[in-house]
């Protein structure tokens, strides 16, 4: 799968251990550099990241895709918070 940030890092030398989030119209959330899934439900999806934790709240949430360090969350996203 094409990894946008992977390609970007390769070009500009961004550190891999950092995490990145892209929210597309509150319908799809792309998370890169997570350290593991900590919570999964239809209203809350949480990930562990290097510096803490990322929580995504919404309705009808599900993981469109999950790999070792990337995830795609689909559904109606209401709030994204990083601790």
């Amino acid at each position: 799968m094409f990894n946008f940030f992977g390609e970007l890092k390769r070009d500009i030398g961004v550190k891999v251990d950092e995490f990145h989030i892209i929210n597309i119209s509150n319908k799809l959330l792309y998370v890169e550099g997570h350290k593991g899934l900590t919570a999964l439900s239809s209203t809350l999806v949480a990930f562990k990241v290097k510096s803490g934790r990322v929580e995504v709240e919404g309705e009808g949430l599900y993981l469109k895709e999950l790999t070792e360090n990337t995830a795609k969350i689909s559904g109606t996203i209401k709030r994204v918070e990083s601790f």
Binding site: M1, G36, L37, T38, A39, L40, S41, S42, Y62, L63, K64, E65, L66, T67, E68
Partner: protein, 373 residues
């Protein structure tokens, strides 16, 4: 993800399990159904490994469903179905060049099995090597009864259509002579075909040949079906001896009866009356008491009639009519289909105190006939 395998898993700490799986495989469409239940999809290639991993993690797989076109194809191209189709195709390919069935149409006097065995023995069963023309020629040459024959291969059937020649009966006829069934005298002969072995006025015995199944054309003997209408006088005789003084046993009128009732051949009731007659006649009568098989009760009645010897003096003249009647009845009992009685007569032979009467009935019998085939 259109093609892949969807797993429905059950277990505690689903997140941990998903994290472990995601380190090795790419997981899709992960939905948490309940606290301990979730579904996710993986590609078809990884399905087997995911299943193994889940087992290692002691996660219960509730459902495993194949998605997309692959399961349909997998069902269609199931190894058993594929092997069956291949086997059938091979079978068809192997069989198709061979003739498996033989069909003969139009045979009447010829035997179907004979024709089929002739073709089987002389020609290949491979339809590509078989020349229908040569089969036609061979059949035409082999069987002179055939006037027309056509052979075609239809699928795996060889169809042989035959038209037989219309030959006279003499060629196929059953060349057996006409034989007399009775003892008697030939009175009339109407020969249709064949040659006579007897002439009018001859006395013949049962089994004698009357008409031979051939005729002489110069020195050449030509076989034909023996056919003729022959009338003959058949003699039926019976002898009775009458004694003028004789002893006859007649019933006195006294009798004793014993009854035995049995069930399954075991006697259950018996009456025993003593028989103190010097001479007696025993008459046994058996009957079913109940007309069903549930209780086969049978009754056996034995009647003992007392007899006495009586001296009888009767002249032949007195007994003549009775004897004639007796003799006639005996003859007619033995003679089958006695239709036309030409004559009846008897001869007497006197002995010492006895007379022997030989009674004869002359009957007209017809053997063969114009309407016979």
């Amino acid at each position: 993800m259109k093609n892949g395998v969807q797993f429905k898993i059950k277990g505690l700490n689903q997140e941990k399990n998903l994290n472990i799986l995601s380190k090795t495989f790419s997981l899709h469409d992960i939905v948490r159904l309940s606290k301990n239940m979730a579904t996710f999809k993986v590609s078809l290639l990884h399905a087997k490994k995911v299943r193994k991993k889940l087992k290692d993690l002691s996660v219960e797989i509730l459902e495993e469903r194949r998605l997309g076109i692959f399961p349909v194809l997998a069902r269609i191209f199931h190894p058993c179905i594929i092997s069956a189709v291949i086997f059938s195709l091979l079978l068809i390919l192997a069989q198709s060049p061979f003739i498996l069935q033989y069909e003969v149409i139009g045979e009447e006097s010829l035997s179907k099995s004979e024709i089929v065995s002739f073709v089987k023995n002389n020609f290949s069963s491979n339809k590509y090597k078989l020349s229908t023309k040569s089969v036609q020629t061979a059949l035409y040459k082999e069987y002179e009864e055939i006037s027309f024959v056509s052979v075609i291969v239809r699928g795996q059937t060889l169809v042989i259509n035959i038209k037989e020649k219309l030959l006279p009966d003499e060629i196929y006829g059953d060349f057996t002579p006409i034989v007399s069934e009775y003892d008697g005298k030939i009175t009339e002969i109407n020969l249709i075909s064949g040659s006579m072995a007897v002439k009018v006025g001859d006395y013949v015995r049962a089994g004698d040949v009357l008409v031979n199944p051939y005729y002489m054309d110069g020195d050449v003997r030509r076989e034909v079906r023996a056919n003729a209408e022959i009338k003959m006088e058949v003699y039926h005789t019976v002898s009775l001896t009458h004694y003028e003084d004789r002893t006859e046993r007649v019933r006195t009128g006294r009798s004793v009866e014993n009854v035995e009732i049995s069930l399954f051949d075991l006697p259950i009731y018996t009456t025993i009356n003593e028989v103190d007659y010097e001479l007696f006649e025993e008459v046994v009568k058996e009957s079913d008491l109940i007309l069903n098989n549930l209780l086969p009760l049978k009754m056996r009645q034995t009647t003992y009639y007392e007899l006495e010897e009586v001296e009888v003096h009767e002249t032949f003249a007195e007994a003549q009519n009775r004897l004639i009647q007796e003799a006639r009845e005996k003859i007619l009992e033995n003679a089958e289909n006695c239709d036309i009685i030409l004559n009846e007569h008897f001869t007497l032979e006197d002995g010492e105190g006895c007379t022997t009467m030989t009674y004869t009935i002359v009957e007209e019998k017809t053997i063969g006939g114009l309407d016979e085939n």
